[in-house]
Amino acid sequence: MYNTKYVLLGLIVFLGLFTSPFWANLGSASYERPKLALPADQKECIESAEYMRAEHMQLLNVWRDEALREGKRSYVASNGKVWTISLQNTCMKCHTNKAEFCDKCHNSNSVNPYCWDCHVEPKGNQ
């Protein structure tokens, strides 16, 4: 290999720069899941908390299409309970604290869903 010295040096510099975010964050505290305000008077959501945490966006997407296009506005949960499909009238009736529930997690994950441009925030939030 020609110019071994320079090539190796360049490679080391490149690797150092490329991995710099890892070095910069080495000492800092690890990501902690934000503490969310859960509904006080309800024990369980329509599905398990793990499922809702991971899949609520896909679920809402399917909910919207089924309700608006197919006219199917009832959701049968995996435990057999029937729920009305509505973000405003089902989800937010329990999760009344949008700032401490939706926003907190969305903010710490840098996602900006535009639900509330149209949908009305629950009054409990103001």
């Binding site: 399917v62 919207r64 299409d65 089924e66 608006l68 296009r69 197919e70 006219g71 199917k72 506005r73 009832s74 959701y75 049968v76 029937v82 009305t84 499909i85 405003q88 009238n89 535009y114 441009d117 149209c118 949908h119 009305v120 629950p122 009054k123």
Partner: protein
Amino acid sequence: MKRSRRQFLKVASLSVLGLSTQLATGGIVNAAETGEQYQATENGLHAGRWAMVIDTRAFETPEDFAACINACHKAHNVPHIPNKQEVKWLWTDKYEHVFPEQENNHMSEALEKRDFLLLCNHCENPPCVRVCPTKATYKRADGIVAMDYHRCIGCRFCMAGCPYGARSFNFGNPRDYIDMAEINPEFPTRMRGVVEKCNFCVERLAKGLMPACVEAAEGKIFFGDLTDPESEVRKVLAENFTIRRKPAVGTQPGVYYII
């Protein structure tokens, strides 16, 4: 170990076949699951073809119209914008503008002065659905021409396509013109850059309620299933002379007017 090309191709094609069958059957199982998870509401109203008959003779005072318009606009958080960027779900106009092809000489004074209640006609052949590039506007199986505002990109083709001017564009944020304290918390507003229109109160029909304007009209508007010969609208249509707007364009409106 040395492999021939023949052996390699055998193993590779078998693995692809295995993977694809797994994916295909997985997809079928998933589709079957969603089929049972989603159902129509128990107490909802259903029809083969929803239709409305407006008895224009019964609407006499401005208050008669205002009751319906206010009920509609309040139920759906429709902003009141006092200029040409207005948003209309339910509004009124004169005979010559409502039925421009069906004018006649020397009409009765009552007819010339009468106001007519206007809304989306929920056509059988809706041009707005045909021109929508994103399928934000679509026709449901029960004849209601509905909108999914999530999908609307604000291109306004539907406004150009609609022969009845039943669609309004949100030039600005409609919430600037809605009192958010007085809002109906059960229905969303719209946002800047989407088109909106009357939805025949699909959300009320799903709950077993009649449309807001029908309820507020107290018998001056009839609403029901056009495919059911026993329905109220069919009886009213059989007993009265009715016309529809712009029959020549072939859209087959679902809103009938008793003259």
